[in-house]
Symmetry: C3
Subunit: 311 residues, 3 copies
Amino acid sequence: MGEFNWTKKDLLSLYDLTGEEISFILDTAEEFKKVSQRNVKKVPALRGKTVVNFFVEPSTRTRMSFELAEQRLSADIINISADSSSLKKGETLLDTARNIEALQADLIVMRHPAPGAHVLLADKISCGVLNAGDGSHSHPTQALLDIFTIREKKKKIKGLKVAIVGDILHSRVARSNAWGLLKLGAEVHFAGPPTLVPKEFEQIGIKVHYNLKDAIEGADVVNLLRIQHERQKAGFFPSTSEYAKFFGINEETCKYLKPDTLIMHPGPINRGVELDSSVADGPRSVILEQVTNGLAVRMAILFLVAGRVKK
Amino acid sequence: MGEFNWTKKDLLSLYDLTGEEISFILDTAEEFKKVSQRNVKKVPALRGKTVVNFFVEPSTRTRMSFELAEQRLSADIINISADSSSLKKGETLLDTARNIEALQADLIVMRHPAPGAHVLLADKISCGVLNAGDGSHSHPTQALLDIFTIREKKKKIKGLKVAIVGDILHSRVARSNAWGLLKLGAEVHFAGPPTLVPKEFEQIGIKVHYNLKDAIEGADVVNLLRIQHERQKAGFFPSTSEYAKFFGINEETCKYLKPDTLIMHPGPINRGVELDSSVADGPRSVILEQVTNGLAVRMAILFLVAGRVKK
Amino acid sequence: MGEFNWTKKDLLSLYDLTGEEISFILDTAEEFKKVSQRNVKKVPALRGKTVVNFFVEPSTRTRMSFELAEQRLSADIINISADSSSLKKGETLLDTARNIEALQADLIVMRHPAPGAHVLLADKISCGVLNAGDGSHSHPTQALLDIFTIREKKKKIKGLKVAIVGDILHSRVARSNAWGLLKLGAEVHFAGPPTLVPKEFEQIGIKVHYNLKDAIEGADVVNLLRIQHERQKAGFFPSTSEYAKFFGINEETCKYLKPDTLIMHPGPINRGVELDSSVADGPRSVILEQVTNGLAVRMAILFLVAGRVKK
């Protein structure tokens, strides 16, 4: 992995990283992927370090993936959920974080509904802060695992056409992927109903489509976002069946794909809405490999941040 | 433990096991029972293995027992409850399980309300699947710990008269015990009100009684099932006090027991309903030993399934 | 740490301990404080021991602190909350505890709303019982960490003037601190509105004030208790702003303090009620050091009780 030394205390957003830093995380993750393929899936890298998983919003898969990554690195782990935190008693977020710091925790993995909450903490406390999702803003480890999966399959990122389809407006996955992919030289396309895909994204070099075909035709990667039923109730689109008809990937719309287009999804899938089962379980799908790679990427970033070289 | 090699990937039901396999689990559990009696109650048998405890229905004692068994085997452990799972977001059970598999988990310990849910998963995913209770159908580790306790006390199973008393209709404990005990040559008696003890069980060789005395007189073992208050509300019996009068074990009905009859209960006990305190805490009771043995039995099955010999 | 041998199975209340025993816990905690300052914050002292955290009342900071202390001692850990316990199914507390004992747990750390619940268990089961708070009665590890912090800063306890201000009536922190501080020779002052500070405390040698100035003037330590909004609703004082005016520590009331008075708070802080931010975050505050010391004190008591010398 060359001469690169990791110096950042936190992982807040891919927007803050250079292409070189992103590539270094991915290189490190390749090494950690091997750990989970061994018979004894464990290394002592974080032994005697304390990681606090602080999930103010509920999460299953991200929490599980982080927790397992921490276990495979032999860290000591404390889990705090929104329900069990003192935030409910009116404690400020900063006081809660300072308490965690006073317990000599090394790292805080936080999911929080407020964009920027992580920046505040990272600035005020000495623990490393890893963003596990902040509202609609950023979800850097999801983007890293997506990019890792693409790089592993396509052997490069530069020049690839990557289409991200769905509820872009509310999606931290879309934003984080876009930042990372653009830094590594991919061509990023967003598609979905106009209510869910702000035209403004064109200003940062993303191509915006209100038509599925234009976005996915010739794409190397199609990343589908989960359609939340709440959005339909809020009037962003008329019905899930209409959404599926115009923006769902199914046998019919598959005809625009190349044979080797990768089908990705951050999960959990709404089968029959944004993605049909025939495609989700078909040969183009790398959805379960994304899950496997998520673990490797999270082990890598935990390892790098915990062992950073002080500048 | 002789030449026997464990080859099964899953523990779904005692119905699927041979008497020889059941005995082999019990023999293995005898060894693991010693671990919990040591000063350092821990062995490295599952170090670097990942066990996911996936409890779609709540559970205290089974979950605690499994989790502690896994810790004493040094496994890495992830807990998922119904609340915290993606099932709530509409993810299919199979997708959730495939995600767990993609995290390279080795074993899934699952409690699920739907009989057969475990069979589906065991068939579709490569992780070992251990049934920690599926609706009214099966609860194999509970039956194994009951049979272990009987064997430890009586030095045999064959030929013993075992009475199981209570809400047989809804009881996975009764079914699992019956399958295991019949395979090992015991005589199984079910007793309770006619609304709660289907006559059909006679077809598989169980003796059905609607009268407590006939079931427990001369019995070597009396296993009491917990009476759930919901059943009374649903009209299965007129009142808990009437239930206690006709089917409760108390000073009065104890007169039908032999001095060395074992009193068993899967817990938690409704003191004064199916079992009086004088008997629950009396010399015939092995209820707390069942708890101790549950840990040994679960360590054994986790160990065997994780280390199975591929056929 | 001299010739002292720890012989107590349980930590129920500081009321039960001698001054010598309290000092021995504090001396031991000094050693454990160093563990959390190392790069590898972990010792194998409780390896292969099982600790059950049984929190019948919710708790964030005490639970986190105990859980982390247990991890840093390498214990195996089971967490049970009120929601997940069988108490909800009508199991008696004693039956639940006997089940935990039957799993060969070594220690139970319990928070329970009923004063005396711990005494019952300690008497009936062989596991060590550590009181993590029982109603308004006792919270010995909180008092130990408070006294540890005072001793660390002031190099003594004897002769110090310690003021505890707020809702004394409902406060286990106040009672526990008072017992410990009196045994070690400090002068204890309670202050707050008459509805919240029973005059009866004078009978055990505490000075009671209904006026903030008298309590804090010349004090070496001022320990502020959290004002719960429920108390105001129940009519114990007219409004939180009136409470803050008469009993809050702020720039104004700070003038009665010595330059080296320690400001303490068990957390979480109601900023602007019992304590203003300028003081909470100011040079006299040792609030976050209390959190750090809590971990050391809990490691010490877990270690002593687990390794006690049988008398």
